[in-house]
């Protein structure tokens, strides 16, 4: 027999950003706890609105199944004496298990007989175990930030105000602080004023719908998007597709009604990004575009309520947006009154980081790093690089970026263009922040890429050398993202610049700071940190871990080289030459592992198989000394196999004659080392 279970946690408006996590956490936690309690069910679903978190379990078993508990005791021969009487050990075991000696059973485990206590457990009714389970769910749910309220000690993101817990038509009694579970709930905060009694869990959904609560978040999201599109269509436009905004709005309301508002066309002279940021970030409106992709002087808001008095709501929202856009227009005009370069006067007054000093110092260091990179890569005109680096942070001092920090770089590009800077400089100012998030675009221009690398390497080295490193979930300077940016930029541009040298150069810019780490340590730590991100990228590209690990075991400062070797080893691994190669590597490596010499004395090569092997080895080595394709190099090395096989058939390596033995070890070591220029193949899983 089974019934539906309903748990509704009634709360004051929860932070919308918490809700997607809360849904999956409650789902997992509930499944886990019900499974532990051996209660079966048909379907388990979690619903969330700002005011309620709901667990609904369809057809939950009314009781746990009966079960047998079997406990193993002593071996049979220890449990009974030669006369078949129970020993003390046996009696003790039975007493401990709460069963009579006569009830003990003999069972065989792995060929040995033991006594067993077998107890039949009658399953408990769900009604009896559910109170603890449900109360436990509420206290165990994790949240990013939680609080206390009133005189209570319980923590939750916002105060809990009511609890509904019904199993069929029965209340599951439990208490959290002053709240006792019952069957009384509330509808929409404004449209459903009266309290509602739920007779049976099965009535809940219908009652919610009746009292203006669209409970199912997916249904609600679809409803909002549908309405937003229709509202935009009414003014002949399409809404901006913005899943994050849609998700946020979805958890800000229980009953959506979209409405269209408009603003004066005169504000369209302000850059589009400013207008959309104001609409999205400050007011949670959807911007609207016309059929040609031009921003329209309109917005779509979504109200938490029905269509009544919608004109009042629209007018209020239009007024608020007008005030914001008026501010934006003012900032735009003010900022454009002086050239971008003039904003740099404020740089000494803005702190980048307490120990690393002002933004002015940062800009100076970034300029030096960018110029070094420019010289190493040959990207861009050094004069323009210098100019772009010098202006890269100027917009942080503008009124607009002070008001809209998320427009950094974007405003810089506008102001640079308006100040008559070179278009490459303007573009680089925008691009040096890229990529801003996972999957964001990468800088496309040479100077943009250069400046982006310089800024990121500056931040990585600077932070690391004063002890700021990401730990666990703590990464206040977003160093992981920046290291990942470095990896993506270098890979995309196929740059084989020596990162280690760049990091050394970068480190030297921080001498004035008095770093906690010396140069070698700082460079090693940052390089390791970047390599960790590279590993992730390689794994995302479906390279296998053994290949990645084996390549990375060969130290280098060249990121692209690592990537190429991984790619080639992976490719080579699938060919028929791979086995030969691994034989060459393993046979030469295993024996000579502890040998460090590679100098071979020609006159000590006795046997003609070893002479032949040595000749072939020299030939391969001379071919691969010239920078070559790793794939060809591995194929070439694989061709040593027949010579190596003949060598091992003909001679013993570990002979008594020290001179012969050492010479042979050196030959093998030489071959192994040549293989290890590509990767440490001992880490390869064959």
């Amino acid at each position: 027999m089974a019934k539906d279970l309903l748990l509704e946690i009634g709360v004051e408006e929860m932070p919308s950003a918490y809700m997607p996590g809360a849904i999956s956490n409650l789902q997992e936690l509930a499944e886990e706890r019900l499974q532990e309690a051996r209660l079966s069910w048909q379907q388990l679903k979690v619903y969330a609105t700002p005011r309620r978190l709901v667990l609904y379990v369809e057809q939950l078993a009314e009781s746990q199944p009966d079960s047998q508990l079997e406990n193993r005791g002593p071996k049979k021969q220890m449990a009974f004496d030669e006369n078949g009487n129970p020993t003390k050990a046996c009696q003790g075991f039975a007493r401990g298990q709460g069963v009579a000696v006569e009830e003990l059973e003999i069972r065989e485990v792995g060929g040995v007989e033991y006594v067993f206590a077998v107890k039949n457990l009658v399953g408990k009714p769900a009604q009896q175990v559910l109170p603890d389970i449900l109360a436990g769910l509420i206290t165990a749910l994790p949240f990013p930030k939680s609080m206390r309220w009133g005189y209570f000690h319980t923590r939750f993101p916002r105060p809990i105000r009511w609890l509904v817990a019904l199993f069929g038509d029965q209340i599951i009694p439990m208490q959290i602080e002053n709240l006792v579970s019952g069957r009384t709930t509330w509808g929409h905060r404004f449209l459903g004023r009266e309290s509602i009694d739920i007779a049976d869990a099965g009535d809940y959904m219908q009652k919610m719908a009746l009292h203006y609560v669209v409970l199912d978040q997916e249904m609600r999201r679809d409803m909002i998007w549908q309405q937003v599109q229709e509202a935009a269509a009414q003014v002949g436009g399409v809404p901006m597709e913005n899943p994050d905004l849609l998700e946020e709005i979805n958890y800000l309301l229980e009953y959506p009604t979209a409405f269209t508002g408009s603003f004066s066309e005169s504000y369209l002279q302000v850059p589009e990004e400013v207008l959309t940021t104001s609409m999205i970030a400050h007011q949670r409106y959807f911007p609207v575009y016309d059929r040609t992709g031009q921003l329209m002087p309109a917005f779509i808001g979504v109200r938490n309520g029905d269509g009544e008095h919608l004109d009042t709501v629209r007018a209020g929202n239009e007024r608020v947006l007008r005030a914001r856009l008026e501010d934006a227009l003012f900032f735009w005009n003010e900022d454009n009154k002086k050239p971008l370069e003039d904003f740099n006067q404020g740089l000494p007054e803005v702190l980048f980081q307490e120990r690393l000093g002002s933004l002015q110092r940062k800009v100076q260091r970034v300029t030096a790093i960018a110029l070094y990179l420019c010289q190493e890569t040959g990207w861009g005109d050094p004069e323009l690089v210098k100019r772009a680096a010098w202006l890269s942070k100027a917009d942080l001092l503008s009124s607009m970026v002070y008001e809209f920090p998320e427009l950094q770089g974007i405003m810089g590009r506008y102001y640079a263009r308006n100040s008559g800077e070179d278009p490459q400089v303007a573009e680089a100012i925008f691009e040096h922040y890229l990529p801003r998030f996972a999957g964001d675009q990468l800088p496309q221009s040479d100077i943009g890429a250069l400046l982006s690398l310089a800024e990121k390497l500056h931040n990585l080295v600077g932070c690391f050398c004063i002890g700021i490193k990401p730990t666990g979930s703590q990464d206040p300077y977003a160093l992981r993202r920046q290291a990942l940016g470095v990896v993506h930029i270098l890979l995309e541009r196929e740059s084989n610049i020596d990162l280690e040298q760049v990091l050394r150069q970068t480190y030297r810019e921080f001498a004035e700071v008095g770093p906690d780490l010396d140069e070698d340590a700082a460079v090693r730590e940052v390089l390791d940190f970047i390599w960790q991100r590279l590993k992730g990228v390689l794994a995302d590209h479906s390279f296998t871990y053994d290949v990645i690990e084996s390549v990375m075991a060969v130290p280098t400062g060249h990121l692209l080289d690592v990537y190429t070797r991984v790619q080639k080893v992976q490719e080579f691994k699938t060919t028929d030459r791979f086995d030969d190669f691994m034989v060459v590597f393993n046979r030469s490596h295993n024996l000579s592992k502890k040998w460090e010499q590679v100098e071979v004395q020609v006159d000590a090569l006795e046997d003609n198989t070893e002479q032949e092997l040595y000749q072939q080895f020299l030939a391969v080595r001379s071919r691969v000394m010239v920078p070559t394709n790793y794939y060809d190099m591995l194929t070439d090395l694989a061709s040593l196999r027949p010579y190596l096989d003949r060598f091992f058939e003909a001679v013993m390596v570990m002979v008594d004659d020290k001179r012969l033995k050492e010479n042979r070890l050196s030959l093998l070591r030489g071959i192994a080392e040549l293989c290890r220029q590509v990767a440490d193949f001992s880490k390869i899983v064959q």
């Binding site: 808001g301 209020g316 007024r319 947006l321 501010d327």
Partner: protein, 303 residues
Amino acid sequence: MNFQEIILGLQNYWARQGCIIQQPYDVEKGAGTMNPATFLRALGPEPWNVAYVEPSRRPTDGRYGENPNRLQHYYQYQVILKPSPDNVIDLYLNSLKELGIDPDEHDIRLVEDNWESPTLGAWGLGWEIWLDGMEVTQFTYFQQCGGFDCYPVCAEITYGLERIAMFIQNKESVFDIEWVDGISYADVHHQGEVDYSHYNFTYADVSTLMTMFTLCEKEALQVADQQLVLPAYDYVLKCSHLFNLLDARGAISVTERTAYIGRVRNLARRVAAEYLEQRKRLSYPLLKDERLRKQVLTEEEAK
């Protein structure tokens, strides 16, 4: 409804809810939270329900009376309900009705907002309350004050009076608010905005202010040593305001900024600790419920 009717409406409403109607505190401060009726009373186990208007100063927000939405001196209406009652949001929504704002005819939204004051060593969780897209109120459940956990937790409701007045009177500029028949907000405050903007941004004497800051800091500590809580707190407020003035004047470099905030926070912590000690010595006179008081006292003994 004119400006003073809005204030009177709120006074009457919260008086009916059992709040003490206090008056503004007579030392400059950045927000109603800094009034001792909030900052100190939020600490310790005693219940406390209060409401008051608070003139608040934010020197950096001065715009010479030219911006329709920004002021360096404005009014907050502050309510503290300690412990936070179960129906606190309904109490708030009903107060809007008192101002003629029927929630059914508007879109009212509670949008997550976490409040933190580094200078006061205080933080709490709550919302911005949006009325048809306009933020009109800050609602916070205090979790810590002066670095001490708040227990019980109070609810703080802070109305932006000018915003609400602009909403009710349908004005585009704060200066157009009708204070009372024929007298506008501009008539009362515009020249002050102009004068203070000039003072805050240009004429405030930096070395005088810095000297005053150091003197007030010294005085706060000296007075706190005598366990004179309120006089010590006055000097904390003065330090805080002097810091804001120096900040507006552009006299505090970014590096020094953190240090100044730390200095004010230390003073605030010190006074908060003295206040807690003092209330304990008085054995919590506002804990009128004998049973509760005994429980609190026994719990403290146990610590």
